[in-house]
């Protein structure tokens, strides 16, 4: 089957800075594709190019069989975008916002009413239809934006940090809606988030750093690639303890992060038994867990995503 998104040799330079340094990837139809990376990694630049908002310096993007550089209108009809920042007209009602969208995307007149009803049901906003958007809470605005993005039945839905600034309960709800959509409509979703636990719902994730994709695979494969368990360890002297572990277990990978040491070993049972008995600096805390996407990110970039974020901001 033809991929729904096909990116080849994609590059983008701004004046002297090369923001995107050559990307090649494909997204299959019906897939949830997670696009991860810290600020300044080139994520937004890439999405803007895919959404026809920014012209690439080099390379090509094909969406739904249309070339993003040459058939902008066809591409625009094929995609829906939920931007990071709010793009609703707050002075208008939910209904008016949705109707405008129908007209922008040439949804046939006789189908508008039924579709508006349908998308409002998906996001549970049927009763708020006639209210002005300025009276909505943050979560409601987000849901309305998702509803609006679906109105023209896009083949691909782009979600750029859809849950940023929402409380945990609303976030959980939003993901329920998104998963329901995937099951019901089979829409392909291209999603960026820096809550890595949320990216776990992706069928595949790509990790981007410094303008390149450094890893791309299913979350499960990426995690198993790390091999073994993660042991979080706190001791009274982390520096000397980490040296000691490195000396005694050459196969262990040790990362120091703030107060905590992350140790990755193939056989956690034997390792734990040994260090509790024999480590010179007494152990104050110990936790064994399966690797998460956070660990994948840490392993590939040497940073946690939150920290990379901070650095990205400080640098920009």
């Amino acid at each position: 089957m033809e991929p729904i998104i096909k990116v080849t040799g994609l590059k983008k330079s701004f004046k002297k800075k090369e923001a995107v340094k050559g990307l090649d990837f494909e997204v299959q139809e019906g897939e949830i594709f997670g696009f991860l990376g810290p600020n300044g990694a080139g994520k937004s630049t890439t999405i803007n190019m895919i959404c026809t908002m920014l012209a690439p310096s080099e390379g090509s993007i094909i969406i739904n069989g249309y070339d993003v550089s040459k058939q902008k209108d066809k591409v625009r009809e094929s995609i829906g975008i939920i931007f990071q920042e709010n793009t609703l007209d707050k002075k208008l009602t939910a209904d008016e916002n949705l109707k405008l969208h129908c007209r922008f995307y040439k949804v046939p007149k006789e189908k508008r009413e039924q579709r508006i009803q349908e998308v409002l049901e998906i996001v549970d906003l049927v009763n708020e239809r006639k209210q002005r958007v300025e009276t909505f809470s943050g979560g409601m605005k987000r849901r309305l934006e998702i509803a609006r993005g679906l109105l023209h039945y896009p083949r691909v839905l782009f979600l750029d940090e859809p849950t940023v600034g929402l409380d945990p309960q609303t976030r959980a709800h939003l993901w329920e809606y998104i998963l329901r959509l995937k099951e019901k409509e089979g829409i392909t979703m291209f999603l960026t988030t820096h809550y890595l636990d949320e990216a776990e719902i992706s069928d595949r994730v790509a990790i981007m750093d410094e303008g390149r994709i450094i890893a791309i695979d299913s979350p499960k494969a990426l995690k198993s690639e790390l091999g073994g368990d993660i042991i979080e360890l706190e001791t009274e002297n982390n520096v000397s303890a980490s040296e000691e572990i490195r000396r005694r277990f050459p196969e262990a990978e040790v990362t120091l992060q703030d107060e905590t040491m992350y140790v990755k070993v193939p056989d956690s049972d034997a390792f734990v038994a040994t260090i509790i008995k024999e480590l010179t600096a007494p152990v104050t805390r110990l936790n064994i867990r399966r690797p998460t996407l956070n660990d994948v990110f840490l392993a590939f970039t040497g940073r946690k995503i939150g920290e990379a974020e901070e650095q990205g901001k400080a640098g920009s």
Partner: protein, 275 residues
């Protein structure tokens, strides 16, 4: 077409919903009508009709200035409506428009038509003051001038679109527009005839598109044919360019061309925009 209508309708809905803006926009023209039409009309009349001798009685300054003040309202409202583009950029809505498949020409035309419609409505509402000012214009002339007012307002909103595409901030936009709009009114013949201007100022008058719009409006509204040539001359209603008197048709074509060029420029700027 649907896209143009959608953008046009959105701007109208928002205009009628914004009560403060709706009423605020009438204060300026009414103030001008009070000052020029009421307070200063005697002075202006005697100054302008000084050389007319016994024909001076035919000269009515309020009748002269009223179309000018309507034109001024068109100019202010049209240009300032383009502020909505900067607001849309600030509040993110421009992104929703730009990622949609609407053609970029439709965005420009829709925005222009929206601003021009709002301006024309305001101009027409000012017609209600005609009896209060003791004026009487021919009713058919008033009906005839409305389509031209819309065309003129289109050209002026195009000017607003051009500013909005270059200027990023709301404050910057307001500053620039204030600085430009005032001279455009004063050097257009809207409030007083621009007959005996110094040469350099005369050049500005002749390149100012408002001059021709005001002239067309006055020629339609004031019954020029019944006035003696001397009065028409005193009102400054026979503009000459390169020594040749321009006709009303030429003036309308000029405004039309001006609007078309501005739509083109606005389209180019939307094509480049990535919000």
């Amino acid at each position: 077409m649907e896209g143009i209508l959608a953008i046009w309708q959105r701007d109208l809905t928002k205009f009628f919903r914004d009560k403060a803006r709706l009423f605020g926009s009438f204060t300026m023209p009414i103030l001008f009508l009070l000052i020029f039409g009421g307070g200063m009309s005697g002075t202006m009349e005697s100054m302008m009709s000084a050389g007319l001798g016994e024909e001076a009685g035919d000269f009515n300054y309020v009748e002269f200035v009223f179309p000018g003040i309507v034109a001024m309202t068109l100019l202010m409202t049209s240009v300032f409506s383009a502020l909505s583009i900067i607001e849309d950029k600030d509040f993110g809505y421009m992104k929703e428009i730009l990622v949609s498949p609407i053609s970029r020409v439709s965005i420009a035309v829709g925005k222009m038509a929206g601003a021009a419609t709002v301006a024309t409505i305001q101009g027409v509402i000012l017609f209600l003051l005609i009896p209060l000012l003791g004026l009487s214009y021919d009713f058919t002339a008033l009906l005839q001038v409305i389509p031209f007012m819309f065309l003129f307002a289109c050209a002026l909103s195009g000017l607003g679109l051009l500013f909005a595409s270059v200027i990023r901030s709301t404050q910057g936009f307001q500053m620039t527009v204030q600085i430009l709009v005032m001279p455009m009114i004063f050097l257009s013949g809207a409030l007083f005839p621009v007959n005996n201007m110094p040469a350099w100022m005369d050049v500005i008058v002749k390149v100012n598109p408002v001059t021709y719009g005001v002239d067309v409006m006055k020629k339609i509204m004031i019954d020029v044919d019944t006035l003696s040539p001397a009065v028409v001359e005193a009102m400054g209603l026979n503009i000459t360019v390169f020594g040749r008197q321009v006709t009303i048709l030429e003036e309308i074509l000029f405004i039309l061309g001006f609007a078309a060029v501005l739509v083109l420029l606005a389209t180019i700027s939307f094509r480049r925009a990535n919000a």
